[in-house]
Point group: C2
Chain length 533, copies 2
C-alpha cells in the first residue's frame, strides 16, 4: 500500500491522502475492518503534519469510508453496508464538512435527478448559476431585432456603416502572408504585433504603455468577467456608479459580491458619498466608466477623476476603468482617462474596439500591472486560450495602416448626426412635458432621460412597447432603485429616418402613462415603490 503526495499540486495534501485512501478502499485493497495506521505514525511516514492526516481521516469519516471510535482507531467500513447515506455534498443539512470545506447556501436536491426532464437540470446548477439568471441582454438583442419596433434599446453602434474600401485589400494581403499566420495559434496574452500596436494606440489617449502592459481580450466584456473571477468571493464588496453598466453588475452579483452604487451627479460620483462608503467597507475594487458612461452618457470631470484616484489610493483599493466609449467624441475636449492620471498603478484599464470599428471582431484589451496580467493569463488559457487569430490580425492591420482612425472619423460624423436628430426630436416633442429632462452627451451612444418622480420608466416602457418603440428602463442599471425614473435612449442603432417617429411615440407613451390612462400592463413588473416610516 502506497500513498504518493504531490507537493506541487493544487490539491491540498490532506485531500490527496483522503482521495488515495478512498481509492484503496473502493478498490478493495483495504478490506472492511482494516485498521488504518494511527494518525501520528502515518504523518511521520509521509513527512507531513499530524493535522494533515487528521483532516484526511475526518473527511473519510464524514464521507462514510471509515469509522473512528476513541481507543479503537480508525477502521474501514464496508461500502455496501455503510451507515452513512450516499450524499450529494449540497444536500448536507449541517451546511459544512470538516476541514474548512463549507456548503453555505445549501440547496436541497431531489434524491435522483431525472435528466430526461429538462427542467430538473437546474437542480444541478452551481450557486453562481443560480445567481445569474438575468436574460436582459438577450431580450434587448431580440427586441432590437423585431423589425416593426423602433429600438432605442440597443447598445450597438451604427449597424449599416460600410467598412472602408481599403479594408478588403488589407485582408487579402494578410491572406497571402508567408506561413499563413492568420490561421495559427497566438500567445495567450495576444499576438505580439497587436500588443505593440495597441500600446502605440493608447498614446492617443495620453496613456503610456509598452506591449507587455497590454493583454488582448476577446472583447472588453471578457476582461470584466476574468477580473471578477480573479478578485471576487461571495460576501466581497464592489463600489460602482449609480446607475451602472448592467452586465458588470450582473457579473459582480453572480460572484456573490455585494454591489454598492455611489450616487452620481452630471460630472461623476458624489465625493462625500464615496469617502463615506470607503470609511465603512473595504471593497475589492471600484468599477467606473468615466467617459460617456453606459447608461447615462455622462463624463466624469477632471477634478472628480483626481478625487477618485486619490481616494482609491489612500484606501489601497484598485479601480477598474471601463473606457469602451471614449473613442466616440462628437464635441468638447478630451479628458484624460484615469489610467493616464494614475502614477501609482492602481488602475486596471479596459479598452475596446467594438464601438469604433466592428462589433463582430470581438477584440478589446486590458492594461494592468504585470502581477495581474500573469494571473489573468492562467485563467484565460483555461477559458478561450486566446482571442481568435483572424480578428487579431485584421485589427493589427487596421491599426498599423491608420485605417482605424480614418474609419473612426466616419463613425463619429455619422453618430453625431444621429445624436443631434434625437436631441432635436426630444426638444420638439418632449420639452413641454413637465418634469421630463435629458442630458446632451458629448459622445458615446446614449442619452439619459429623466421622468417625473411619480412615473416609473417601467410603466412608460410598457406603454411605449405597445406604441412600437423600445428603450431600456433605468431600474436595470440601478443598484438602489434611485434610477428607476430615468431611461436610456440609444441613438446609433435605429435608422436615421425613424428617430423622429420613435421620439414622438415615446412622448405619447410618457403622456399616456402620466395621465393614468395606461392599459393593462404587457409585462408583469411589480411596482414596488412603497413608503415606509
Amino acid at each position: 500500500m502506497f500513498i504518493q503526495l504531490d507537493r506541487n499540486s493544487s490539491v491540498p495534501l490532506y485531500r490527496q491522502i483522503a482521495i488515495q485512501l478512498q481509492l484503496l478502499i473502493v478498490e478493495g485493497a483495504l478490506a472492511p475492518g482494516f485498521l488504518l495506521p494511527p494518525e501520528r505514525r502515518l504523518a511521520q511516514t509521509l513527512g507531513v503534519n499530524r493535522t494533515t492526516v487528521l483532516n484526511a481521516y475526518r473527511d473519510l469519516k464524514s464521507e462514510g469510508f471509515v469509522s473512528a471510535r476513541v481507543g479503537q482507531g480508525t477502521s474501514v467500513l464496508d461500502p455496501e453496508r455503510s451507515q452513512s447515506p450516499v450524499m450529494h455534498p449540497s444536500e448536507q443539512s449541517t451546511g459544512s464538512l470538516p476541514s474548512g470545506r463549507s456548503f453555505a447556501g445549501v440547496k436541497r436536491l431531489p434524491k435522483r435527478i431525472d435528466l430526461e426532464d429538462g427542467s430538473q437540470w437546474r437542480h444541478l446548477f452551481s450557486r453562481e448559476a443560480d445567481r445569474t439568471h438575468d436574460t436582459l441582454t438577450r431580450d434587448i438583442l431580440a427586441l432590437a431585432g423585431r423589425s416593426e419596433l423602433i429600438s432605442f434599446a440597443a447598445g450597438i453602434p451604427i449597424p449599416d456603416l460600410e467598412p472602408p474600401p481599403e479594408l478588403e485589400k488589407l485582408i487579402r494581403d494578410l491572406l497571402m502572408q508567408e506561413g499563413h499566420p492568420i490561421y495559427n495559434h497566438t500567445p495567450v496574452e495576444g499576438l505580439p504585433a497587436l500588443r505593440e500596436s495597441i500600446a502605440a494606440h493608447v498614446t492617443d489617449r495620453s496613456i503610456q504603455a509598452t506591449a507587455s502592459d497590454i493583454f488582448v481580450l476577446s472583447g472588453s466584456q471578457q476582461g470584466l468577467d476574468l477580473l471578477s473571477r480573479l478578485f471576487l468571493d461571495p460576501g466581497d464588496y464592489v463600489l460602482v456608479e449609480e446607475p451602472t453598466y448592467f452586465c458588470a453588475r450582473q457579473l459582480f452579483e453572480g460572484r456573490g459580491a455585494t454591489v454598492i452604487g455611489i450616487p452620481c451627479e452630471e460630472d461623476g460620483m458624489r465625493t462625500e458619498m464615496l469617502e463615506a462608503w470607503l470609511n465603512r467597507v473595504t471593497p475589492k475594487f471600484i468599477y467606473v466608466m468615466p467617459t460617456f458612461q453606459n447608461p447615462t452618457g455622462r463624463t466624469m470631470s477632471l477634478a472628480k477623476r483626481r478625487m477618485l484616484l486619490d481616494a482609491a489610493m489612500r484606501h489601497g483599493i484598485p479601480i477598474i476603468e471601463d473606457d469602451a466609449y471614449s473613442g466616440l467624441r462628437y464635441e468638447g475636449t478630451d479628458i484624460p482617462p484615469l489610467k493616464a492620471l494614475d502614477a501609482r498603478q492602481s488602475v486596471l484599464y479596459l479598452g475596446s474596439f467594438s464601438k469604433v470599428l466592428f462589433m463582430g471582431l470581438r477584440i478589446g484589451w486590458l492594461q494592468a500591472p504585470r502581477a495581474i496580467l500573469r494571473q489573468l493569463a492562467i485563467h484565460r488559457q483555461l477559458s478561450d486560450i486566446h482571442a481568435a487569430s483572424p480578428s487579431q490580425w485584421i485589427l493589427d492591420a487596421c491599426l498599423k495602416s491608420g485605417l482605424l482612425n480614418r474609419h473612426k472619423e466616419n463613425v463619429i460624423a455619422e453618430s453625431r448626426i444621429r445624436r443631434d436628430l434625437m436631441l432635436g426630436a426630444l426638444a420638439r416633442h418632449m420639452s413641454d412635458i413637465p418634469g421630463v429632462h435629458w442630458n446632451t452627451p458629448e459622445g458615446g451612444l446614449y442619452i439619459w432621460l429623466s421622468l417625473p418622480a411619480a412615473l416609473s420608466a417601467r410603466r412608460v416602457a410598457e406603454a411605449a412597447s405597445r406604441l412600437g418603440v423600445a428603450f431600456v428602463p433605468g431600474h436595470v442599471f440601478s443598484i438602489d432603485g434611485s434610477s428607476s425614473h430615468s431611461l436610456r435612449l440609444n441613438f446609433t442603432y435605429p435608422p436615421k429616418t425613424r428617430i423622429e417617429t420613435g421620439i414622438r411615440m415615446l412622448a405619447e407613451a410618457v403622456r399616456e402613462s402620466s395621465s393614468g390612462n395606461a392599459e393593462t400592463p404587457l409585462f408583469t413588473y411589480p411596482e414596488d415603490l412603497l413608503p415606509i416610516v
Copy 2:
C-alpha cells in the same frame, strides 16, 4: 424615506433592504440615534416576510451601521464613532456573516494593500484565483517554442501544413458579401448558418442534431469553462478518467471541486470502479474523452461506452463528452460517440475544429439539452458575448464548401506519417529497455509510454530536457499519482525530420535515469513516493 424592492432582481430582498438602509444612513438621511421601525412593522409595510427584515437588520448590525438591544429597538450608529471596525469581509475571524453568507477558507489580509508593490495584489485575489495557479500550458507552449529543443510536449496539430488553396478565394467571397456580415454581431449562441452547418456536420459522427441543439463556442475549452461555472460549487465531486486532460482538471479544481480519477484500462474506465464510486458519491458530472484521449491516445470500446451511459443514467448523473480528437482517425473503424448512443439526453457533447482545421480560429461547439444551453447563453453573454464573427463565417464557408473534409484528409495523411515515424523510432530505440512499453493509438495526437515502476517520468523529463528533448510527464494528468510513471508523446508538432533523433535522445534519457547516473536535477520536483503500513 422610501425603500423600493425589485422582486425580479438577483439580489435577495433582505440585501436590497439592507443596502438601501445603508445608503440612507451613509447619506445622513437617517441620523445617528434614529430608531428603525420594528421588524414586524417594516415587513408589513414592504409586504415581505418578517425574517427578510430580520436578516437585513442583522447584516446592518454586523456591518456596524446600527446597534440593536433587546427592548430598545434598532438604532442608527454614528459612522464616525462606530464601534465596529472597518473590515474586509475575508478578514473576519469567525468565518461567517449572518444570513448564510459564509467566508470559509478565510485568508487574512494586511491592513492596507500597497498597490504600488505588485506582489501585494495577490492578497486581493479570490479563492478561485488562489486555487488556479498552474502555468503548465504556458510553460509547455514556451518550451515548444524553444527552437533548439525537440518538443514532443505540445498539444498542437501539424503546424506547417499549407491551408487549401481554395480557402483564400472562399474568404475573398465572404469579404464581398452584401452588408459585410463578416464584421457584424452574431447571436450569443452563434451564427445561425454555422449552427446549421454544424448540425449537418455531426451526422458524420452518427449524431442527430438540429441547429437549435448547437451552441457555438470560442473553442471547446470555453465549453469546459462555462460548464464548470454552470455546475460546480466548492465541495462538489467530479469523476474523470485517470489520467485525464489537465486543463479540465485545473478548471474543476479551480472551482473547488473534488476530482476523482477512475482507473482505466486500454479500452476505458474500469467498470467496477466506476460503479463503486457512484455508489459512494454523487458527482455533478462525469467528464470523459472517449476517443483518442488526451493524454493516452486511448479509445473507449463500444461496450464500455454503453456501460458508462447506463451507469450515468441509472444514477442520474450527466456526462460531459469531450470529442476534440475523433476527426483524426488514421486506421480502424469509427466507434460512435457517447452522444450518438445517448437516447436520454444525459450527454453534453463538446466538439472542436481546432485539431482538424486551424487552431487560431478558436471555434468549437456544445450540443446539449435546451435547459443547459439557455443558462449557458446567460453566462456567455457576460463573458465574451459571442465567438468572433470572421472565424464563424470562415468556418461556415469551409463546412458548406466541403473544404473542411478535403483538408481533413491531408491532415490525417500527414499525421499518420508522423505517428508511424514515431512508432518506428520507438521500436528501434526503446524496445530493448526493460519495463518500457507504449500503445499504438488509432488516431489523435498522442502516444502514451510507460516506464518501469521504479522510474518517475519527472526524473526522465529532467534528463531529457538536458539532452534536448521535451515531453509532458504523466503526473500532470494524474489525479491519484498512478500515472506518474508514464509520459505523453506528441508526434504532430515536431518536424518530421527530428522525430527519430528526439526518440533516440528520449531512450538515452530513460537509460541514464534508470542507471541512477542522473546528474543534479534541473528542476526541484519532490519525489514523494513513500511506502506506508
